[in-house]
């Protein structure tokens, strides 16, 4: 069977996801300006330990090999080790994303003793100034301390996960050296205009020239740098990047949020892309296999406004979430289309006053207190 038919099979969806993200909590010690889930405060309806374990049992029966756990800051949950232990014990590997605040000496040792566990430390700059501008004061030092603790505990190869912005594109080589110095693996992903990122995307997303720089850098580093296949819109620049060239939303990918709602992908936490809940009768399995939303995402998509563009086969029209949250039609170009079609459309819509981008449905940001003391210099 050729690779092409494999891709068309994947587009029609599988009986179970290949890659499932599970945000365990909306609680977070940080308030990153690009947070996809607008995290900050815990949602009181958060799944209980027993409910979370029941979801894991269901994923085991579906033969999901591994889950990507995130948040919020997942380690804030008191039952964090209990939940990931239950998953690993059921042969579901865990990869979790953290800002590192809770990886002290003891928890680093505990994590190092577990099999089938991967850790991604989020870092958005190779210096405190660049990183903290996005992730908050002190977050750079916190991440470095966590990495030191993992190294001392002999955790082995962890991952450093970077969201590429216009302020850190120039640091890609430095990120690679930093990762190498810890024996870590570098993972870089695309900035999405989701969650609080919907408000900051216009200032933070890489420029057109920087996109070419990212593409060349990724081609040069091949499979040594992980990307979660998030840059496939850049394939229109030439030779394809490694990975599956398709939008996996609702087909091979989905997201479970902290209250058990199931969304098509981690970047579309919005009612329009909510397929159901793990607490509904039939559970996650029924949502995945039968929900109206996921079924419709598996229908052949129309190239729409991109049909006349020779690059459509290469870029597949880009990222659904990026279009949605910038107010662009889903069957048209990505806002970061490398041929500039998205940018044209965005500015045309802005100048004609019809650009109304949907707002994320839920917001868990902490309220801003007027009495909050400024961070000390």
């Amino acid at each position: 069977m050729s690779a092409e038919t494999l891709v068309s099979q994947l587009k029609r969806g599988l009986d179970a996801p290949i890659c499932l993200t599970w945000e365990l909590t909306y609680a977070c010690n940080l308030q990153c300006v690009h947070c996809l889930s607008s995290s900050g405060q815990r949602d009181p309806r958060e799944l209980s330990t027993a409910q979370a374990k029941a979801v894991i049992d269901e994923l085991r029966d579906l033969q999901v090999f591994y889950i990507n756990i995130g948040g919020g800051e997942p380690m804030i949950r008191r039952d964090f080790f209990d939940i990931i232990g239950h998953s690993i014990h059921n042969s579901i590997g865990v990869k979790f994303s953290t800002n590192g605040a809770y990886i002290d000496t003891d928890s680093a040792r505990r994590l190092a003793a577990m099999d089938y566990l991967d850790i991604q430390i989020s870092l958005d700059g190779t210096d405190a100034a660049t990183n903290d501008a996005v992730r908050g004061a002190g977050s750079f030092d916190t991440a470095i301390t966590a990495m030191e603790n993992l190294r001392r505990a002999n955790f082995g190869e962890f991952k450093i996960s970077v969201v590429v912005t216009r302020h850190n594109v120039a640091q890609l080589d430095e990120f690679k050296s930093l990762a190498d110095s810890y024996g870590a693996q570098l993972r870089i992903t695309r900035l999405r205009p989701a969650g609080r990122g919907a408000d900051t995307w216009h200032e933070l997303h890489p420029t057109a020239d920087q996109q070419v720089e990212i593409y060349r850098w990724l081609l040069a580093h091949g499979e040594n740098v992980l990307t979660g296949d998030s840059f496939f819109h850049l394939n229109a620049l030439g030779e394809p990047l490694p990975g599956l060239n398709l939008c996996g939303a609702g087909r091979v990918v989905c997201l479970i949020d902290p209250v058990g709602d199931v969304y098509a992908c981690p970047f579309v936490l919005h009612d329009e892309f909510r397929a159901g809940s793990v607490l509904d009768p039939g559970g996650f399995t029924k949502v995945w296999r039968e929900s109206t939303l996921f079924t419709s995402l598996r229908e052949p998509e129309s190239a729409g406004a991109c049909a006349s563009c020779g690059s459509y086969d290469a870029c597949q029209g880009g990222c659904m979430a990026a279009k949605f949250f910038t107010g662009l039609p889903l069957d048209g170009p990505d806002p970061e289309c490398v041929s500039g079609h998205g940018e044209e459309l965005l500015s045309a819509r802005t100048s004609s006053g019809i650009a109304t981008a949907p707002k994320p449905t839920s917001n868990h940001s902490r309220p801003v207190s007027l009495t909050r003391k400024p961070a000390r210099a």
């Binding site: 494999l6 099979q9 009986d15 290949i18 090999f65 591994y66 042969s91 590997g93 099999d115």
Partner: protein, 88 residues
């Protein structure tokens, strides 16, 4: 070392297979690699490798016609690189 029809192979004990319409997904819990087995016949071959002394014997048992053997052998070679199967 290049794989030949006379090599003996087996599926790694760290690998889990999930049946799919196109064949199967293979996941290696050790190196975290996810590999697509793109044909149901490939899945049968991979599953029964350890029941036979050589790859040729596995192909015989799974009814893989001679003209398909070179491409199957190449696919198996790739699976040794990702450690989904091991030689010996």
């Amino acid at each position: 070392m290049a794989l030949t029809l006379q090599s003996a192979c087996s599926l790694s004990p760290q690998v889990a297979l999930r049946p799919e319409p196109f064949g199967a997904l293979a996941y290696h819990y050790g190196n975290r690699r996810l590999v697509f087995l793109k044909h149901p016949d490939m899945v049968s071959v991979v599953k029964s490798l350890s029941d036979h002394p050589t790859i040729a014997a596995t192909f015989d048992a799974c009814g893989i016609a001679n003209e398909r053997r070179p491409s199957f052998l190449a696919a198996l070679e790739n699976l040794t690189k990702s450690e989904i199967i091991s030689v010996g």
